[in-house]
């Protein structure tokens, strides 16, 4: 006999979340979601709700949580402005394939379409930026909608899902049985079938290659295929580069890791993309920031593309062989067919470019002789203090590119950044979620002075929750990346990029967060060490060189092989 209870929709929401294993949700209450908050109050011992200071913060925190934990992040908001404030985070999660379930309150169903107070058509607004969304207007439809939401968010290529629940559906009653998870949707095939013939064809091309190169992306992490990737790389002996979101899927110091591709990637992998004879793309989507000018991208190479999403195949770069499927499975399968090989002289070509990049760019960042502090040396200090074990959460701009270039990684799921959308303001709230998703790890947020001020109200969330996030603001008193472009492409016309900033230390202290400002090189490492050693959250402001630039750089519209070092 089934144990049926008569409960209201709002209680069903909370019980479904708990049944899905959700232990923390981020959000902000308001009129149309109050019944759900009332139930959260009742169930607070089972589901921890984190009150962010803005709904955008809730969405980014849910993303950060999902990125470090590998689980689905949950964000809650009320109707109208609450829902629209989630939108940036949802768009970010969509383009970076982050599993997030957003639940929004909505005006009562009889008011839909009447321009009621705080009514917004969030279903239409969020359609292009969600993997799936739906509006629930009846209490009895809530459990199935939530089950479907979690299944869709995390299966296949993950992504954000939004469930909009009218207030009357939250208040109405339903017969609640034990929660049933969703395991299939008839119109939806999360993982395409792998054609073993394609795997064999790919292996044959790889085995015949003279100068093969791998580029791997976040698909490896999302598919938990790190071990399979490593085994494949080591057996095939192929030099391997990562995309920004592929960072940390392999150790930085792995002998076959040749660094990062893309606009501010490393010199070698960018240059040699246009010289390899076989390009093996794994769980990456040939974003324009990776490829530069497409008509001159890897034209000499045979392209093998491993992906879970059939829509990515031939979207930007035509592949000669496409291996569809889950990376864990497909990389596991190809291992059997690839020959054990080494490409010593080809790998040395990468290392020769590394040497040039070191001399022209890296040395100046890590061992600066000029007075001003560089962003690179801050990252190096963090590597040292955390023994390459930190989770690095970066915002968007120059500091982000410096973080992804100079942070070292030993463990997977250690790089949390807004890659596809490039959302300034992402890092502070994402770091809160990242720390909650990986509480035993050091979580360091690297943020610019511009991006920090977009979501700095989330210091209040840190104050209230006591989350031990380490915040590093690299302050150059500029919107640095835009300024760099103005310098290079707009004849130094610094339109609206100079920042007159508040006293960040006072701001952090106002939120009871221990804070320190570093202006001199000799104080840097000690301050970083103190920050990392701190049991609580910590705020470190580092005044860096005002007009430093990020190099190498592939200018927009240029070929990857035209990557500039200065």
């Amino acid at each position: 006999m089934k144990n049926t209870e008569r409960i209201i929709g709002a209680e069903a929401v909370v019980r479904c979340l708990i049944a899905e294993g959700v232990d923390v949700a981020y959000g902000y209450p308001g009129g149309a979601i109050m019944p759900i908050y009332d139930e959260l109050y009742k169930y607070q011992d089972q589901l921890h709700h984190v009150l962010t200071r803005h709904e955008q913060g809730a969405a980014h925190a849910a993303q950060g949580y999902a990125r470090t934990s590998g689980r689905v992040g949950v964000a809650l908001a009320t109707s109208g402005p609450g829902a629209t404030n989630l939108i940036t985070g949802i768009a970010d999660a969509q383009i970076d394939s982050t599993p997030v379930v957003c639940i929004t309150g909505q005006v009562a169903s009889h008011l839909l379409g009447t321009d009621a107070f705080q009514e917004t058509d969030v279903i239409s607004i969020s359609s292009p930026i969600t993997k799936w969304n739906c509006q629930v207007t009846k209490a009895e439809d809530i459990p199935a909608a939530i089950a479907k939401a979690f299944y869709i968010a995390k299966s296949g290529r993950p992504g954000p899902v939004l469930i909009d629940i009218t207030k009357d559906a939250q208040q109405g009653e339903l017969d609640y049985n034990s929660y049933e998870k969703c395991s299939q949707v008839r119109s939806y095939k999360p993982i395409p079938e792998t054609d073993i013939e394609k795997v064999k064809q790919a292996a044959e091309i790889i085995n015949g290659a003279k100068k093969p190169m791998i580029i791997f992306g976040q698909g490896v992490i999302l598919g938990s295929a790190e071990a399979e990737l490593k085994a494949f790389i080591e057996k095939s002996g192929i030099p391997s580069a990562w995309t920004v979101l592929g960072l940390s899927a392999l150790a930085t110091n792995h002998p076959l890791n040749v660094g990062m591709v893309g606009m501010h990637g490393n010199y070698g992998p960018n240059k040699l993309t246009n010289e390899c004879d076989v390009l093996i793309a794994i769980g990456m989507r040939f974003d324009d920031r990776v490829t530069g000018k497409l008509d001159v991208y890897a034209k000499q190479a045979k392209v093998i593309h491993f992906d879970i999403d059939p829509a990515e195949i031939d979207k930007n770069v035509k592949s000669d062989v496409a291996v569809l499927g889950d990376a864990k499975d497909t990389l596991g399968k190809i291992l059997e067919y690839v020959d054990q090989k080494e490409y010593t002289s080809w790998l040395n070509e990468f290392r020769a470019f590394d040497q040039i990049e070191f001399e022209k760019v890296i040395d100046g960042q890590l061992n600066p002789t000029k007075e001003g502090l560089t962003m690179g040396e801050v990252l190096q200090g963090i590597n040292k203090a955390t023994k390459d074990n930190a989770v690095i959460v970066s915002d968007v701009g120059q500091h982000q590119m410096m973080a992804v270039r100079y942070a070292n990684f030993t463990n997977t799921r250690s790089n949390v950044t807004s890659g596809g959308l490039g959302t300034m303001g992402f890092a502070l709230p994402a770091a809160i979620g990242a720390k909650m998703g990986a509480p035993s790890r050091d979580v360091v947020a690297i943020i610019g002075d511009g991006g920090f001020q977009m979501t700095c109200q989330e210091l209040g969330t840190i104050l209230q929750t006591g989350t031990a996030v380490k915040i590093v603001v690299l302050n150059n008193e500029f919107l640095g990346m835009v300024r760099q472009w103005q310098q290079l492409f707009f004849d130094r016309r610094y339109a609206s990029t100079e920042m007159i900033n508040p006293d960040f230390i006072k701001l952090a202290e106002a939120y009871s967060i221990p804070a320190k400002k570093v202006t001199q090189r000799e104080n840097l490492q000690a301050a970083i060490d103190e920050m990392i050693a701190s049991e609580s959250s910590y705020f470190l402001e580092v005044m860096v060189e005002k007009e430093d630039n990020v190099f190498p750089m592939v200018p927009t519209g240029a070929s990857v092989s035209d990557v500039r070092l200065s």
């Binding site: 279903i123 359609s127 509006q135 949707v185 119109s187 095939k189 195949i313 979207k315």
Partner: protein, 174 residues
């Protein structure tokens, strides 16, 4: 690559909001949907969208990928005009006086085997199912007499080849 007219068929769940999702896929890429028809399909609770677009085959393949990526889309196909049987319906409304003042109107109606939908003292309505160029030709013939109202439906199309939706649904459900 040369742009051509493609007829896209999308089989989907019959869900609120899917039309919006489908249309944004085209809008996002700045592609004009020249015709759109949504109806039930041969399978219960499965809808069928027929869209007509003018684009390159390369681009239409990518659009199919994006359409199939939608959770509620079961399958999407694209066809050239020689791969489908298709038609559109048009209706024309005229003032009834015209029928007596201009006997050519009657000739046009006869010539194109048009159906008379309704006739009364003030107006009459004729309809025609056919290809776009036939309807365009009729429109041009009627135009000098003053058309009170004109409307044309979106294209409906049936593929010559089987689309195997039942089989696909069966495979997913297994």
């Amino acid at each position: 690559m040369e742009k051509k007219s493609y007829t896209i068929s999308v089989y989907s769940e019959n869900n609120l909001g899917l039309l919006n999702r489908i249309s944004t896929i085209f809008v996002k890429r700045h592609i004009n949907i020249e015709s759109l028809t949504v109806s039930h399909s041969e399978i219960e609770n499965v809808s069928r969208f027929i869209l007509v677009v003018n684009m390159t085959e390369d681009a239409v393949k990518k659009i199919i990928g994006q359409l199939e990526k939608q959770v509620e889309v079961i399958q999407a196909y694209y066809h050239t005009e020689d791969e489908i049987i298709f038609t559109e319906t048009a209706m024309f409304k005229f003032k009834s006086d015209l029928l007596f003042e201009n006997p050519q109107i009657q000739n046009i109606i006869k010539e194109h085997s048009m159906n008379i939908v309704t006739v009364n003292r003030t107006f009459f309505v004729v309809e025609k199912a056919g290809r776009r160029h036939e309807i365009d030709a009729i429109y041009e013939s009627f135009k000098p007499f003053g058309i009170a109202q004109f409307v044309r439906s979106g294209r409906v199309a049936i593929s010559k080849e089987a689309m195997n939706i039942r089989k696909i649904l069966g495979e997913i459900v297994q």
